[in-house]
C-alpha cells in the first residue's frame, strides 16, 4: 500500500526531522499534488542531503522535491544605526 500524502505524513516528517540526528526544526513541509516540497534553510549541503536521505529512506514511495537552501555566511557590507 502506498503512503498516503496527508497532514499526518507532514507531521510525521516534521517529527523525523527533529530527532536527535537531524535536529532541523526550521524545515517546512508542503503537499503539492503527489509530491512533498521541503523548504527552509540549513547551514551546509551535508545537512540538506541528510534530510532528503532520511525522508526517502523512511518513505521510499513518496516523491520529494527539495527546495532547502544553504544560508550564506559572507561578511556584511552595511551597518545599521540604532536610534
Amino acid at each position: 500500500m502506498s503512503t498516503q500524502i496527508d497532514e499526518y505524513l507532514e507531521a510525521e516528517i516534521q517529527s523525523l526531522l527533529t530527532d536527535g540526528r537531524v535536529a532541523e526544526l526550521g524545515i517546512t513541509v508542503h503537499r503539492r499534488e503527489h509530491q512533498l516540497v521541503l523548504g527552509g534553510d540549513v547551514e551546509c549541503e551535508n545537512r540538506r542531503d541528510e534530510i532528503c536521505r532520511q525522508i526517502s529512506s523512511r518513505f521510499p514511495d513518496v516523491e520529494i522535491v527539495c527546495d532547502i537552501g544553504i544560508i550564506r555566511a559572507q561578511a556584511p557590507t552595511e551597518v545599521e544605526e540604532i536610534s
Binding site: A23, G40, D41, V79, E81, I82
Partner: protein, 247 residues
C-alpha cells in the same frame, strides 16, 4: 560610538567548521564585540561546543553569548558552558557583563528565555502541574533578565536572548507556534530597564525588525533571517557626532 556584531542560530557542528571563519576574521575591522543569540550548536554536545569555540573563538574582539534550546538538547549545557568559558567566550545565563569600549561602557544582559506567547494568546500559570512548570520557567527567566538589565550602570545596554521578546520579529512564522518562539515577559523585562537594543534568535522564518511596547528596538539575528555571517549595529552615534564637533 560602539559597533556590535550579532548573529544567532549558527548550529555549529564539525560539518560547518570554516564556513563562518573568513567573515569572522574581518570582525575587528567591523565591530567592537560579537554577540551570539543562542543555538550555538546543533545538539548541545561537548564536541559541538568545541567546534563552536574553534570557529568563533580567538577573534580579537570579545564574544558574548547565551545558550539556545539546541544547546540544551543533550542535557550537557553546563559542560558546554565550561568549554566555551575556557575559550574566553562569555556565556550569560541571567547575568550581565560590562565592556569598556572606546571610553564608553557597554552593558550586555543575557538569558536564554523561554516560550509562553504574547498578549491575547499566551499560556497561563494555571491548571496542570506541567503547565504551571512551563509558565513558571518563562517567568523565572524573564525576571532574571530584568534583574541583570537593572544591575549595571552603563552608557549603552543590550538585552541578549534566544527566545523572542516581541511578536513583531516572528512575522513569517506560523501563528500557531508563536507561543513556542517567545513570550511577552521578556519584552516587559526589557522595557523595565533603560535598554538600548534587544537581540534574539530562534525564529528562523521570522522578520528582522521590531520594537517592544516601550519602544526598544528589537532585532531577530537568527542566521536564516539575516542571511550573512553577522549583522553590525551602531550604538551611541550621537556621542560620536558630538565628539567630532568638539574637535
Amino acid at each position: 560610538m560602539i559597533r556590535i556584531a550579532a548573529v544567532g542560530d549558527v548550529h555549529v557542528d564539525s560539518d560547518v567548521l570554516g564556513r563562518f571563519r573568513p567573515a569572522l576574521e574581518e570582525l575587528p575591522d567591523q565591530a567592537d564585540v560579537l554577540l551570539v543569540a543562542g543555538d550555538l550548536t546543533r545538539h548541545g554536545t561537548v564536541e559541538e561546543a568545541r567546534c563552536f569555540a574553534t570557529e568563533f573563538g580567538g577573534l580579537g574582539v570579545p564574544v558574548v553569548t547565551v545558550l539556545g534550546n539546541h544547546d540544551h538538547q543533550s542535557d550537557q549545557q553546563s559542560r558546554v558552558v565550561d568549554v566555551l568559558t575556557a575559550s574566553d567566550i562569555t556565556v550569560l545565563e541571567g547575568e550581565a557583563t560590562v565592556l569598556e569600549l572606546h571610553g564608553t561602557r557597554l552593558g550586555i544582559a543575557g538569558v536564554k528565555g523561554f516560550g509562553g506567547g504574547f498578549a491575547g494568546a499566551c499560556a497561563s500559570n494555571f491548571g496542570e502541574r506541567e503547565m504551571k512548570d512551563f509558565v513558571s520557567t518563562t517567568e523565572v527567566l524573564a525576571e532574571r533578565l530584568q534583574d541583570a538589565l537593572l544591575s549595571v550602570q552603563v552608557d549603552a545596554l543590550v538585552a541578549l536572548t534566544h527566545y523572542a521578546p516581541v511578536p513583531d520579529t516572528l512575522l513569517g512564522e506560523p501563528l500557531e507556534i508563536y507561543a513556542f518562539l517567545g513570550c511577552y515577559q521578556l519584552g516587559r523585562a526589557i522595557d523595565a530597564a533603560p535598554t538600548t537594543l534587544a537581540l534574539h534568535g530562534h525564529a528562523h522564518h521570522g522578520s528582522e525588525r521590531g520594537r517592544t511596547p516601550g519602544g526598544v528596538p528589537v532585532r531577530n539575528v537568527a542566521h536564516p533571517v539575516i542571511k550573512q555571517a553577522y549583522n553590525v549595529y551602531q550604538l551611541l552615534s550621537e556621542e560620536a557626532d558630538l565628539e567630532l564637533v568638539a574637535t
